[in-house]
């Protein structure tokens, strides 16, 4: 894992101390709310529907056991005993008191964590493949690139006030588990014949009210060109992105209005100007920096083990192995996904005790490392296949043994109106009802891999646009109403789902989803997943099934 150097540590500690002073001035009335609001947002502190909410950054979703234990401690000491893992691979605390937040930030700083750039119109936490560095299908480890981006974008003075927030995602694997095409900029890293990184850069993706799949703007960019290119891409956006209307301020709108070719020409012109000016020296030595960062991600070699088949049988443990285990690079090891989606549970929530247990399990079975996924689950990346059965038994004890990774009941749900002040409807109760129902159907009907995502408003933090089955909560005359989209996907074949038709009440949603699933089961051919069947059969058939009884 990447470890902060003394400069990083000193910086986050100084920042926590600075915020302590700001909070103290707010509480004694020396700062008004108008003066304080931007300062608290710069430190990830929102005021939500019921209370303050602190969003803590988990860079590219990588956590040490020690860091997870600290997150558990914060949940117990300053919250109501739980935290919520988000689709940005971060964690949110829903109930901190303003006066406690400086202590929380101090404790985070002590383990190299913070809440900086988890809010505001800046470059947000860089996300990545939760299987980074260990996936069998990986071309090159994306973490050194993600860390390079973190260092480049942290407190970048020029990009502190962009027209709107800006999100990066990086993957280095054949399968896109980081949804890079749904980001402002997505990086696909490949290895050149010498093993050095080469980048395909995608731009202009995003969800929200105008969902867009990113377009490929540059191919095979070399490492020493990466940051100058990104710098110019951001600079053009910073100068030309719209600031008159926040709904049109994301880079996807600039690209749509300007056209990709014209945007690329502007970026190229900026790069040429930068290279001949004072900024030419800015990125000298990047390759050496990358190498230094990459060296930190070479974990102590795992004990060598014999390759062995995964233990499949017909018991509950085998069901879990089938769904929650992914292939590891190293012989004799497996990647274990821990589902935070028990039937009826709150997607992404974990209690302090559960977090502590997982930290213990990470130390015992996974070289002390944990990952957070954008699907709101946790991952133990280095588990010996021989240890799977005892790990499973330990997960049963904390209720995190649900065998549903990548299945319909592995629901993404944003906090929705239960917490979020921007929400138009609740997401969590819908997820709770559906997850119970879908778990039953998964076993009975062999539904196969699929995604079902729920957002509580058009901002789409719950990724409903790119789910095979997406649910968007709306407010119609002060009643919750849920609009369904079908056929979306967030992988390498990313596509925005089709909006069906009139929405459903909360009570009607489960039966509506059942009708969609029945249609899928009737239509699917052998070997097809939901997304394949939908693509082949088309919207009209599914729409007909969805509204047949309404």
């Amino acid at each position: 894992m990447y470890r902060y150097n003394e400069h990083d540590s000193a910086f986050v500690q100084a920042r926590a101390a600075e915020f302590r002073d700001q909070v103290s001035r707010r509480l004694t009335g020396k700062l008004s709310e108008d003066e304080f609001r931007p300062l608290r947002l710069m430190n990830g502190l929102y005021l939500q529907l019921h209370a303050y909410m602190l969003r803590v950054a988990i860079p590219y979703g990588v956590l040490s056991a020690e860091q997870l234990r600290t997150l558990a401690l914060l949940a117990r000491r300053y919250d109501r005993g739980y935290g919520h893992f988000t689709t940005r691979q971060n964690i949110q605390y829903n109930w901190p008191k303003l006066e406690d937040v400086p202590d929380m930030l101090d404790q985070l700083a002590a383990v190299g964590m913070h809440a900086i750039q988890t809010s505001g119109n800046c470059i947000r936490n860089v996300t990545s493949d939760p299987f980074a560095g260990v996936a069998a299908d990986e071309n090159i480890d994306p973490r050194p690139t993600a860390e390079l981006l973190r260092q480049w974008s942290s407190l970048h003075p020029e990009f502190a006030y962009l027209p709107r927030k800006f999100k990066f995602a990086v993957t280095g694997a054949a399968e896109d588990r980081a949804a890079i095409k749904l980001h402002d900029i997505g990086l696909q890293v490949k290895a050149d014949p010498q093993g050095a990184p080469l980048y395909n850069i995608w731009v202009g993706g995003g969800q929200g009210r105008t969902p867009r799949v990113a377009q490929l703007i540059y191919n095979d960019v070399q490492l020493n060109d990466l940051l100058p290119t990104l710098d110019s891409m951001l600079r053009v956006y910073n100068l030309e992105g719209r600031r008159d209307n926040k709904y049109k301020a994301r880079i996807k709108i600039l690209i749509a209005e300007k056209g990709l070719d014209e945007y690329r020409a502007a970026v190229d012109a900026d790069r040429a100007a930068a290279q001949s000016g004072a900024a030419a020296e800015d990125f000298v030595g990047i390759e050496a920096l990358y190498d230094r960062i990459a060296a930190q991600f070479i974990t102590a070699p795992l004990p060598v083990r014999d390759d062995r088949p995964l233990p499949f049988g017909d018991d509950a443990f085998s069901d879990w192995v089938r769904t929650n285990i992914a292939a590891h690079k190293a012989a004799g090891y497996a990647i274990v996904s821990i589902s935070l989606k028990p039937p009826g549970g709150v997607p992404g929530d974990a209690t302090d005790q559960q977090m502590e247990h997982i930290a213990d399990l990470a130390e015992r079975y996974s070289a002390g490392e944990v990952r957070v996924t954008h699907r709101q689950n946790l991952v133990l990346p280095h588990v010996a296949i021989d240890d799977l059965r005892s790990l499973y038994a330990a997960l049963v004890e904390i209720g995190f043994e649900t065998p549903n990774i990548g299945q319909a009941s592995d629901i993404i749900a944003c906090p929705g109106l239960d917490y979020c002040s921007l929400a138009t409807a609740r997401s969590i109760p819908v997820a709770q009802v559906l997850s119970q129902r879908l778990r039953a159907r998964e076993a009975q009907d062999a539904l196969g891999p699929m995604s079902l995502n729920i957002s509580g408003c058009i901002n789409a933090c719950g990724h409903h646009h790119v789910a095979n089955i997406g649910i968007l909560g709306l407010n119609r005359a002060e009643k919750e109403n849920y609009q369904i989209t079908l056929g979306g996907r967030s992988d390498a074949q990313a596509v925005i789902g089709d909006v069906m038709g009139p929405g459903f009440t909360q009570d009607e949603v489960p039966a509506a989803i059942d009708r969609v699933l029945d249609c899928y089961l009737q239509q699917r051919k052998a070997g097809e997943r939901f997304a394949d069947t939908y693509q082949r059969v088309g919207k009209a058939v599914f729409k007909g099934a969805l509204y047949v009884e309404s």
Binding site: E33, L49, H50, Y52, G81, L98, D418, P429
Partner: protein
């Protein structure tokens, strides 16, 4: 937030407590958490004085973001007219689920 169209409803003054972030309501006992104890502005009555009181409490660094919430009373229980405010008044029902899980 009580929009123009809700002015004919009864309304209460709400905000978040600056220190704790808790949802609070203005009433005879000051700012407190129980909507049942909130001072009621009759439907259609001028709201300026109550709003000014909220603004003063913000200036005095007691609360944040004060505004009027339209409410209805059924069988002696107050509930909000707007969806968002209904959830805000009742608190996230989800906490019960979490409490159950912690206990388990």
């Amino acid at each position: 937030m009580a929009k123009q169209k809700y002015q004919h409803y009864d309304r209460v003054l709400s905000a978040n407590d600056l220190r704790s972030g808790d949802v609070v309501f203005w009433g005879a006992q000051g700012w407190q958490k129980d909507v049942a104890k909130a001072a009621l502005l009759q439907g259609g009555a001028p709201a300026d004085a109550l709003l000014a009181l909220g603004e003063q409490a913000e200036t005095d660094n007691i609360v944040v973001g004060s505004y009027l919430v339209a409410v209805e009373t059924h069988a002696g229980r107050r509930s909000a007219v707007e969806l968002r405010e209904r959830v805000r008044l009742s608190g996230p029902p989800i906490l019960n689920a979490v409490d159950v899980r912690v206990a388990a």
